[in-house]
Structure formats: C-alpha cells, structure tokens
C-alpha cells in the first residue's frame, strides 16, 4: 500500500532563516506530487505541483521554491523566511489524471 511521509511535524524558525521541508512517497511509481499551504481557518492553497521528475509548476509567486530530486521525493525550500510564510504545509500525491490526492500529516511552521 502507498504511504506518504512528511517531516518535521512542527518547526519554529526565525525570520530570514532558510527552510527545507521534505516529503517522500512509498508504494507507487511516478506519482504526481503537491505542496499546499493552509492558513488558519482557510482552505488549502496550492503552492507547487509536479507531474514528473523534471516538471514542477508554481502556482503562487512567492518566497518559496520546490525541487524533486528523486521520483518519490518532493522538497519545499526557502532561502529567507518571512513572517507571512507561517502556516500549515501539506504534501500530497496522486497517480494519473483526474484522481484524488492523498495527504501527509503536515508541518506546522511558525516564523518568529
């Protein structure tokens, strides 16, 4: 069966520090991978998605970037965090087109 691992669960970082959040998927090949952010009381905002190892699409221009160094690994990064980067970050995967996405347990990021 497929599983998704996302870490860390909680992170407190100072303004201006770098960020690296990692997500890996097991049990499937060539998944579509996603990074979402959820602000308190809000819906999920799609940040990046990738349908292949060299194909990453950015949805919202901002202080973040994404990379996919391996087929089942997706990394969210920032060189310098802003206060507005605080939120709940969720990684997800799907397979093929027109299918549901399955989420990890999320990372609560607080920028102080």
């Amino acid at each position: 069966s497929q599983t998704i691992h996302q870490w860390p669960a909680t992170l407190v970082q100072p303004v201006g520090s770098p960020l690296s959040l990692e997500c890996t998927v097991e049990g499937t090949s060539n998944p579509n991978l996603y990074w979402y952010r959820q602000a308190a009381g809000r819906g999920l905002q799609l940040l990046f998605y990738s349908i292949g190892i060299d194909q990453i699409s950015s949805e919202v221009p901002q202080n973040l970037s994404a990379s996919r160094p391996q087929d089942r690994q997706f990394i969210l990064s920032s060189k310098k965090l802003l206060l507005s980067d605080s939120g709940f970050y969720l990684c997800a995967w799907s397979v093929g087109q027109g299918s549901a996405a399955f989420f990890g347990q999320g990372t609560r990021l607080t920028v102080v």
């Binding site: 819906g43 998605y49 299918s99 989420f103 999320g106």
Partner: protein, 111 residues
C-alpha cells in the same frame, strides 16, 4: 474570485441530528469533485470523488451528491466522532492534476 464556496462555515449538531453541507462551484469543465475530512492538526483524509451530475457516494453516515453547480454532503444521525472540518475540492478538465479547495465547513457534534 473563489471557484469553490462552502456553506455554512460552521455547523453545530446534536448527536443524531441529520444535516447537509453545501459546496458550490463557479467553474465550467468540471472533471471531478472531491470531499475530504480534516481533523485538527492533521492532513485531509479522502472521502469521495464525484464525476457527473446525479452521482451519489456513501460511506457510513456520509452521503455525497452532485448536481451541475453544487454538491451536498449529507450527514445522517451524526455521532461525536463525525466532528471535523469537511473540505471539498474541484478538478477541471483544463488541468486535471490540480485540486482547488474551498475553505471548509467545521462540524461539531455534541453528545
């Protein structure tokens, strides 16, 4: 402009009091509509996918239905463990890799 609107924002129910949540969408070219359940501090858990108007899906006390411009999630005789935020998302034929989410309905079921 929001593509997906969920109502109400919050719903408080007594155990056993059935109710419905609404998800309306303004987009055209709908590929699929998805319902998720999210517990506090957790990632969303997939519930249902609906692809065409008239389609219905059921799971325990939950039933999802789809019309041309909205979807309903019916909760029948809810229990306290049904308390959660319910999210809906739409996917378009234009880009059927992406899901666009509504803000969710937070359901609280009191014993």
């Amino acid at each position: 402009e929001d593509q997906v609107t969920q109502s109400p924002e919050a719903l408080r129910l007594q155990e056993g009091e059935s109710s419905s949540l609404n998800c309306s969408y303004t987009v055209s070219g709908l590929r699929g509509l998805f319902w998720y359940r999210q517990d506090p501090g957790k990632g969303p858990e997939f519930l249902f996918t609906l692809y065409s108007a008239g389609e219905e899906k059921e799971k325990e006390r939950l039933k999802a239905t789809l019309t041309k411009k909205e979807s309903f999630l019916h909760i029948t005789a809810p229990k306290p463990e049904d308390s959660a935020t319910y999210l809906c998302a739409v996917q378009l034929f234009l880009n059927d890799y992406k899901l666009s989410f509504g803000a969710g309905t937070t359901v609280t079921v009191r014993a």
